[in-house]
């Protein structure tokens, strides 16, 4: 990144120009690249044409013999490729030899800088660099307009129809790290929340239970004896049985006790009425040791 000084103001700050610096390419390398691209285009075009011809020739029962047209095309293109390589070397050598002369011609000594051809060319190049982003934007606008006019859905459908999706899927499965892809995707998702929001868990569980023999699963996987021992221990079942059978199991005993309780209450009400008492008796539970330990207030307790 290249630091660029902001205009000098009292509160000026230095901002960093994040635009990449584009170095002008070497002329020889650029020419070489252009030539290679040109040959690449020719090769692709020839490949398309020759493949169509080969498709016609390799029809049913025609065998796999190489077409002479292909050989002829390879000879022509190979000759042109060799000539281009030779021309490139000659041009490279010539440019190296001519570069001092060109330098003198472009920037002749004794000529004012404003009148030097090199400087004029530099100005033109700088102007082009300045205007180039605008032209790129124009291209993007044109491309966008063209794309807007195209039915991308139809285009995609046609592309997909012509694609060998099996091969494509195989290639994707071979080249893509699906584990890492899924892991990254899951890292960005709150999967639990997604499931809670979008899955009918009751229905899922109901369907799962329909397909699973839960009883058999429990019988096979759970130590029921251990569970039973745990429950019996947790609720102290022996103590419950002992209490139930030892004290309150008999209906006769239970009835006798309840009748005794009712009789106690009846007698207490009768006595209280006899002594014109209005307040209920104070018979608190003896489960409150602090109050019971000291006993009720003697002043209010005639007993």
């Amino acid at each position: 990144m290249r630091p660029v000084a902001a205009p000098l103001e009292p509160r000026a700050v230095v901002v960093l120009d994040t635009r990449p610096v584009e170095e002008p390419p070497e002329v020889a390398a650029a020419v070489t690249q252009v030539v290679r691209v040109g040959f690449g285009v020719v090769a692709v075009a020839l490949d398309v044409v020759l493949r169509s011809l080969e498709g016609d020739r390799h029809g049913p029962g025609r065998g796999d013999r190489r077409s002479p047209v292909v050989d002829l095309a390879d000879i022509v293109v190979g000759t042109a490729w060799g000539a281009a390589r030779l021309s490139g070397r000659v041009a490279l050598t010539g440019s190296r030899l001519a570069s001092p002369v060109v330098a003198v011609v472009v920037r002749p000594p004794g000529v004012p800088a404003q009148l030097q051809l090199g400087n004029r060319l530099g100005v033109l190049a700088a102007r082009w660099r300045r205007d180039r982003p605008g032209t790129v934007l124009d291209v993007e606008r044109v491309v966008s307009a063209v794309v807007d006019q195209i039915d991308l859905d139809l285009l995609a459908a046609q592309v997909l129809r012509r694609l060998d999706t099996d091969t494509l899927a195989t290639g994707v499965l071979r080249d893509v790290d699906l584990d890492r892809l899924m892991s990254d995707a899951l890292d960005q998702l709150d999967l639990t929340q997604v499931v809670l929001d979008r899955v009918d868990l009751g229905r899922v569980i109901a369907r799962a239970l329909e397909q699973v023999d839960l009883t058999a699963t429990v019988m096979d996987n759970v130590d029921l004896v251990q569970v039973a021992e745990y429950v019996v221990t947790a609720i102290d079942l022996p103590e419950i049985i002992r209490e139930s059978t030892g004290s309150v199991a008999s209906e006769a005993v239970r009835g006798l006790r309840m009748q005794g309780v009712d009789a106690d209450a009846a007698v207490a009400r009768a006595v209280d009425r006899l002594f014109f008492r209005r307040a209920n008796r104070r018979t608190p539970e003896e489960t409150l040791p602090p109050q019971v330990a000291d006993g009720p207030d003697p002043a209010r307790d005639p007993g």
Partner: protein
């Protein structure tokens, strides 16, 4: 095979064996009717014990002198003394061990001290003697606003409804219900 988690540190659930209709009265002081009924049962037991002793004594006499056997005729005071001893021991042992005589058990009662615990041997013996000397003191529980007899008032004991079989030892933290 799934294992059952350890129950360590988990509170044990309490399942109350007492019928629902009787739960509200558990731990409350009993009235005169149930206490009298329990004492009647205990009195019957005492009479039964005396009759058993009398039968054993008679059988022993018959075995020793069958030719001159006659039914023993103990004086009333001896019967009264024997009955008092039997009943006193019975009350003392019952109250000091389980907190209840058989009559108390039948009527769902328990004798506890002021802290709601089982009474100690000494207090049980004193209470048993008090009950034998002043049995009429029981009926003060009908008059008392706190359902306490004379013995309970003096000795600071209580007779409560307790349908469970748990024994509440002296000094132990707990409730009688």
């Amino acid at each position: 095979m799934t294992t059952v988690p350890s129950g360590a540190g988990r509170a044990r659930p309490h399942i109350d064996p007492v019928p629902v209709e009787a739960r509200p009265i558990q731990g409350r002081r009993a009235g005169v009717v149930t206490r009298t009924a329990a004492n009647v049962v205990d009195f019957g037991i005492t009479v039964g014990v005396l009759l058993g002793g009398y039968a054993a004594w008679s059988a022993a006499r018959f075995l020793v002198e069958p030719a001159h056997f006659s039914w023993p005729a103990p004086p009333f005071l001896a019967i009264l003394a024997a009955g008092s001893v039997v009943m006193g021991l019975y009350f003392t042992c019952a109250w000091a061990t389980t907190g209840r005589t058989y009559g108390d058990h039948l009527l769902g009662l328990r004798v506890v001290n002021g802290r709601g615990e089982r009474v100690r041997w000494g207090l049980a013996a004193v209470r048993a003697a008090f009950c034998l000397v002043v049995p009429i003191g029981l009926f003060w529980s009908a008059v008392s606003r706190t359902n306490r007899s004379v013995q309970d008032t003096v000795l600071r004991t209580y007779v409560v409804y307790d349908w469970t079989t748990r024994i509440h030892r002296p000094g132990a933290v707990g409730t009688p219900t």
